[in-house]
Structure formats: C-alpha cells, structure tokens
Amino acid sequence: MAQTVNTSKQAVISGTGESRFSRRSDAPLARLQLDAINAALTDAGLEPGDIDGVFTDGSVMPVSFPIDVAQTNAGLHGVRRVGQFATGGTGTALAVMEAAKAIRQGDLHAALIYFGVDWGSSQPPYSFHDRYRAKVLYEQPYGYYGQALYFATIARRYAHEYGYTMDQLARGLGQIAVDHRANALLNSNAQQSRSLDLDTYLAEGMLADPLRRYDCCLQSDGAVALILTSEEFNSHKDRPAVVVTGAGYAADSITDESFFSQNPLFTSLPSAHRSAALALSNAGVTVEQLDFVQAYDCFTPSPLMQLEALGVCAPGAGIEYVTAGTAIGSDLPLNTHGGSLAQCYLLGINHISEAVRQLRGEAGAGQVKNASKGAVMMAPGRDHVTLILERS
C-alpha cells in the first residue's frame, strides 16, 4: 500500500548534476566530473564544505578520478566518511543505498556520489574483462570477446527456451532500441539525436548474431554527480523532495569471472529478482504503482531480463511485453532518458539522475505525467541493486 513518506527520517536526493554527454568530449574526464559535482552542489543549494560523505564506484574511478582527487579539486573539506563499491555495474546504486542508510541513521548530513568515464574518446570497455583469468584463458581463445557476445548467446538461448522465433526476438529487441531512441529525442542531453524505426533497426547487419548495432549501448564521455541529504538539509522546500524509500541488494554465489557464461539460469538474473523484491517490499510499493523503470541497458536483453525480475511480466514473457512498447506514453515507460542505448553510457548513474528529474517534474518534453514513484535497476550480473524513489 502507498504510505505517506516521513521525510524527516528519510534520505532525499536533493542535488543532481550532469556534464555534457558526448561521444568524444574536448574536456578531460576530470573536468567533466568536476562540472557534474559543481552542478549537483548548485542544484542542492549546498557549499562544497557541506559535503561530509563521498561515495563512488570502486572498479573504475580509483584510477580515473579517485576520491582524494575529487575531494581536493571540489574543495570538499568537511568529509568524514568515504566509500567505494567495487561491484561493477551496481557500484553507484550501491553507493546511493549505503549513503542513504548513513543519512537515515543520522551519521551524515550530505553525501556526494559521483561517476564518470571517458570511454568514448579513450577506448571501448571490452578489455575491462581481461582482469578475469578464466575469460582470458578459456573464452577469449575462441573469440568470445566483447560483452556483446555474452548477451548474444543469452538472447539466442532465451528465444530457444521460451519458443520465440528469431524474427519475434528481433522485433522485440528492436522495439526496445526504437523506444529508447524515441525517449532520447525528448532529452536535451542525449547523444543520439536522430530517430530510429524498426525497419532501420532490422536492416542493420549483425554484430554478434542475433544482436545488431542498436542493441548495443553507446560509447561515451560524461559524468554525473548526486547529492543525498536528510530532509533537514534539503534546502529546496519549494520543490518536491525525491526520497529513497526502498533499496535492495542481492548477490549470487558465483564469481564475476564466471557469471556471464556460467550463470546456471543463463537467461534470467536471480539476484535481480531478489533485489527487486527487497526494494519493493521495504518501500511498501507494488509494481503496479510504479510510473517508470530505469534499468541498466548495456545491451537490449539486459533491461528485458530486469523487467522480468521486477515482475512486470512473467519470465519468458518479456519479448511479448517489450514488443507492445515501453516508450514514454506507455503504461510503464522504460529508460525515459534513452538509457545507455541512446542517451549516454555511464554504467547507470544517469538512470538515477533521470529518475530524480522525472519525480521532480523537471523532465520537460520527456516528462512522464504525474510521475510519483519509480524504480532504478542496476545491473545484469552476479549482483544487483534495485532502488525505489518516490516524490514526497
């Protein structure tokens, strides 16, 4: 049941900032990240010295823009707690979850979460998995290299298990790409600016059969920052507060190294099923009450599996579900900013800033009418985070 949110004991996402998103930026990552942090501070109405906690991903940022560099360059002289989450695609969602907990407990007043990459101008993230010995020794010799191949084999197996023809599969995955693109065209900070229809999608050659070009996320330069505060430190009493009302983390007993080829269920994400159930339960929200879902979309099969995990449709019914359309204007819009497929690939942190924009009613042409509750889901892998955000 919907309940009145008691904001005095809740964590509010009271500031968001985004750099300009692009394929190749003239500015270095450090500048993009500082732009995002400064924009988030301005949006929250806070001074750098107000920030007392800093949290980020621990897989990428410790090399590219570590906390000491962020703290020094942004003037965050009041920091008394930091944390990094080296869990890959769930890192920044887990950072929000842990920062929210610290704020609810009264340990922190204002926590900064940041993430950015320059993988658009430097190198695509394929070699990221070279850290895994089993992949280098047992997968790469066969050319099983590049994350698209993981999702290509997942998609084919999915079609086999649930009795979809390859044409039905293509039309379902294609509709995901088409709807993400349509959403991105309503967002002023999206990399993709040309429309995409299903015929154009289908006419593209295969990259890794059955995945085509537009099944794959963008490569991007960009950065986002979020600021969580208690309601007391939320200086904007004049606009809706976006409260983290539910958060769930779950992890399977399988390593990151093994997951994509050895996941026993292969076509579904057990940890996502559990994290979604946890987050909905502790928010006291049902799937039917959600107004949008932002789900990690590295490749089109990824949001498909997460929608099933969330319970919007039964396992295996996902292709039918997405074929009916998930763009803005549908019953439950998916990735209202265009996601990683069409807005920007930042491992999902832009999904969180978009959720905030929607719940404040600040999404402009891409606004979901009367959006008051939304889910953010990250990421397809051994572990998963679902956040439920609500407007108070």
């Binding site: 010995r133 020794l137 790469q140 010799p141 066969y142 050659g205 059969d209 093994s258 080829s261 050895q262």
Partner: protein, 141 residues
C-alpha cells in the same frame, strides 16, 4: 592468421586444462567429495565447498547450448577472422557446465540449439594452443 592472443596459461589453477588438451584429453574439475563436475576452476567446489578436487577426464561430447556468429571484430586482432562461430557446449557428463568453444564443418544456418557435438583438438581462432573445438557428431544427430 590472427596473431597469438595471450600466453598466460601458467597459472597453477588453469594450466592443467591446457596440458591435458595438448595431449588431446578433455578434462574438467571434479570434486573428490561430492563428485560434482564444475567450471571454471575455483578453490572450493561450488556444490559442497570441499577443497579436494582434481582434473578428471571427461567424455568430450555434449550438445549446443547457445551460439553466436560474430561479424564485428571487437578486437582489432580479430579483423581478419570475422565472421566466425562461437558456441557454448553443455558436456553430457557435466550438466550445467557451459563450455565456450567453436564449431567446425557446419554452416551457421544449419546450427541449432541442442545439436550433438564431439570435440577434436586444434588451435582456435585466437590462440596457438591446442584446445577442444567441436564438430557435429553424426552418430547422434
């Protein structure tokens, strides 16, 4: 010819698989306590957590679990190699194991999930090492 990819098969945990393949034997880790065959090698048995497991000869046959035909070179070293087929094989004696490999002697249009395959040993598309690669097993089609 693609250049040699990486030659890091010196890890104690992973090397025995390469050594066996050089002798044209297909081996998988098998738990000495519960008998579970698993993949990839890890310190403890994923089924019972026993630390006592060994590499055991495994019947080199299975069925196609999934596959993809790769058209885009995700690494520049594969530019001359595309298009090529990658298969995931579930060995008959190790249900639940997903062996990434390649398949020979079949057109992509003929490939189906569930087809029976049998291993031979050759250097796959991105390695100079002898490793298991698969062919359709006519005896079991």
């Amino acid at each position: 010819m693609p250049t040699k990819r990486l030659d890091k098969s010196s890890d104690a945990m992973f090397q025995p698989y390469y050594d066996a393949a050089a002798e044209q034997r297909f081996v998988l880790p098998q738990c000495g306590s519960c008998g579970h065959r698993f993949w990839y090698p890890q310190t403890s048995c994923p089924s019972c957590l026993s630390l006592e497991w060994t590499w055991r000869d495994t019947k080199p046959q299975g069925r196609i679990f999934s596959w993809t035909e790769v058209h885009h070179p995700f690494n520049e070293e594969l530019t001359e190699t595309v298009p090529f087929l990658v298969v995931i094989v579930e060995p008959d004696e190790a249900p639940g194991v997903h062996l990434v490999s390649s398949v020979r002697g079949i057109e992509p249009g003929e490939l189906r999930v569930g087809l029976p395959v049998v291993a031979t040993f050759a250097a796959p598309v991105w390695s100079d090492h002898m490793l298991p690669v698969f062919e359709i097993d006519p005896a079991r089609v």
